[in-house]
Symmetry: none
Subunit: 232 residues, 4 copies
Amino acid sequence: MRIRKDGENTRQKILQAACVVFGEKGYRGATHEEICRLAHVNTAAINYHFGSKEALYAATWDYLATQMDELYPIDGGVPLNAPADVRLEGNVRSLLLRKADRGELSNFHRIRMREIMNPTGILDHAIASWMQKMRTYTRSVIQELLGPKATNEYVELCEMSLISQCFMAQGPPWKKRKHALWKFDEKDTERLTQHIVQFSLAGIAEIRRRLESETTGTRLQEPLTGDPHDAH
Amino acid sequence: MRIRKDGENTRQKILQAACVVFGEKGYRGATHEEICRLAHVNTAAINYHFGSKEALYAATWDYLATQMDELYPIDGGVPLNAPADVRLEGNVRSLLLRKADRGELSNFHRIRMREIMNPTGILDHAIASWMQKMRTYTRSVIQELLGPKATNEYVELCEMSLISQCFMAQGPPWKKRKHALWKFDEKDTERLTQHIVQFSLAGIAEIRRRLESETTGTRLQEPLTGDPHDAH
Amino acid sequence: MRIRKDGENTRQKILQAACVVFGEKGYRGATHEEICRLAHVNTAAINYHFGSKEALYAATWDYLATQMDELYPIDGGVPLNAPADVRLEGNVRSLLLRKADRGELSNFHRIRMREIMNPTGILDHAIASWMQKMRTYTRSVIQELLGPKATNEYVELCEMSLISQCFMAQGPPWKKRKHALWKFDEKDTERLTQHIVQFSLAGIAEIRRRLESETTGTRLQEPLTGDPHDAH
Amino acid sequence: MRIRKDGENTRQKILQAACVVFGEKGYRGATHEEICRLAHVNTAAINYHFGSKEALYAATWDYLATQMDELYPIDGGVPLNAPADVRLEGNVRSLLLRKADRGELSNFHRIRMREIMNPTGILDHAIASWMQKMRTYTRSVIQELLGPKATNEYVELCEMSLISQCFMAQGPPWKKRKHALWKFDEKDTERLTQHIVQFSLAGIAEIRRRLESETTGTRLQEPLTGDPHDAH
DNA sequence: AATGAATGAGCCTTCATTCAT
DNA sequence: GATGAATGAAGGCTCATTCAT
């Protein structure tokens, strides 16, 4: 019989408030007081329920990562036996939808990007293993698109080119985008998906072409000579 | 030999120490004490020479930005009348060399990325105007590569695709790269330059092809139909 | 018996200590450390309970002003329908008793006088409204004593003459009266009351006499009855 | 041969700046930097020329007190053999003119009043001896007005009544008079002089009347009975 | 004689954490 | 289980004073 208090409920309220405050202010900028004020709980509740600010931070990451993977599966819902370019599109769309989420999950990216740019050290392991899972899928798709001759180096380079665009496309995910690189937002997700897929498939195809001509005698690092547009 | 009592010398020492500490710890994480300990000056020296922590931060940005622009000009040394693809390569190389710098200037990116992810507000104006200059150059090159039919939207999408790769290629510039997305480092700069240029020129050419076929009746958002590999 | 953990108690202890320290050292001279040492609480307690030094200062003023008005009502206990000279005596006695208080309330005057001589700006509004209340009462009594012909200017001049004496009579309220103008102290309160009332009633009567002769043709700025230079 | 520096000149500039800053900000509120900025000298000059902030403060007092006594003699220019009421008027006018001065000397009162209300201890001796001189003159006049029967107590009471008015008449001497008690300013000096003299001569006369009737049987502390206006 | 540079002590404030209830 | 109160450590900043020139 619960008359006044409910441990899980309080825990949950703190977690939800922590997403917002950590997302907006970062780990250092967030204070117990602000989180607890937002959660309508006592300031001591964080240490009571989580033991420390660090532990709450780690719990917040898990809380968000779990939801993210459930809500936006990494394959974008495309079956494994679909053609590679369709799987690529599904993957790109999934990554962009994750960034486009305007709810609680939007804080996931803010926290992740901050950790990448300004690591606290607290989430090092969690983020590393989370990324591993994501990258494995993407690389398998790219490997297929590059063909059997692609070494790991080429896969990694193309993966970088693809993932970079998905990470940066919508810029830093805050409303007040003072340093916004581009003005794309959640409404442009489909447009961005198409662009990135088109751009990247062409890029990958070019790399593949070079890879395959390489073995037939053409040098790999073909220098720029004249306007490539003329070549086509 | 002056040991003490040399304003410019002390100022310089503080600036250099500030690069390191702001770069490693961020604005909030940096303390007067740590900066001054590293600079071998008194803790009050920051406020004496710069007036406040904020002013020191702004001075540090200027100090780094000035050096950066001098050392790695945005065009990579390629003259304005060179072909667009060569200018693109120069631009990409310049951006990658900036990130590859392992000296004092490496802190420039750390500070900039942190400001983008976790703005203090102190550098808002400085960073915005700095970025404006950089983007203007890149967009002019892309505009030329996309041809006269490219609207601003297309230019911006391709700019995003290109710049994203340059930003992310070498990952966050810390020695201990726990979150490193890719293992490329400063020794791979030329390799990365070639990859990004090849990949992106192909991507841009593809976007241009679609742009130009659009006017001849083909729909813009041409969906993926069949394996693009078949097309070649 | 509560030794710690009693918010009201701690708050009260801080307030009482603040009266003493602000009273003795002034706003700038008072430090958190000294106040908290006197109150036997932690240095951070001021900001915990009051938010800032300024807020504590304002709270201290309210704390003292409230007690003062309760303990020494401005009319000195004389009913409103008493003759004007009796009301004047009550008013004068009240003002002198306020200054004669040797307890916590003695700090009220120290703080007020300091604010007048060296305003912090923090109490501007509070002191202004507090004085307004006090002056309104005194002026109504003086207005009646001066008669219907007295303009505001005359009322104000006489108010000044009366209040000045009440303010200065006992000198600045410190134990170590290095700058004491007169040696009167709290034991002389009744003696001072009688003197000030006698002196001032005569002064007011003289002003009234001149006021009323003025309307009968005599010029306003009537010099000293018979030019004193001539008289002697 | 003085080429660049002139010890006396620098000293003088500091003194003049110190008057202003000590006058406006008080001892604690004044900083070396502000004073020296106003004097257009180096920050170290205060300690160089005066040894310490305290010594400068004392020197500032002497600098102002000397000028004050020269410019506004305590007797107001009235000869010693003039009638007592005329000497009183001269004394009152002198005191009011001192407060009405709008130049450098206006800081004299600010410093003096602050010392009285909020003593630093630095000027204790200087102020005490300065006041002694002033009071001696005033008391001799009052003694004569009160007649031979006046004891020291009566003289002191009347002196208090008179001096209080002169001290307070123009309120605290700052432009921004947030706590202004009365709105009189330097233009009202003559008007105030007349009022204070009229008011006080009547008050003194009343005290003298009571003094003299006291010896003829009437009790000293004649209580208030009925409206004193009727009595006249 | 004079000064720009430098310093150390001290202040107000913040905040994660602990404590008694 | 939960909380309001309390705390100590640390940070940014001010400023009178000292130092080397």
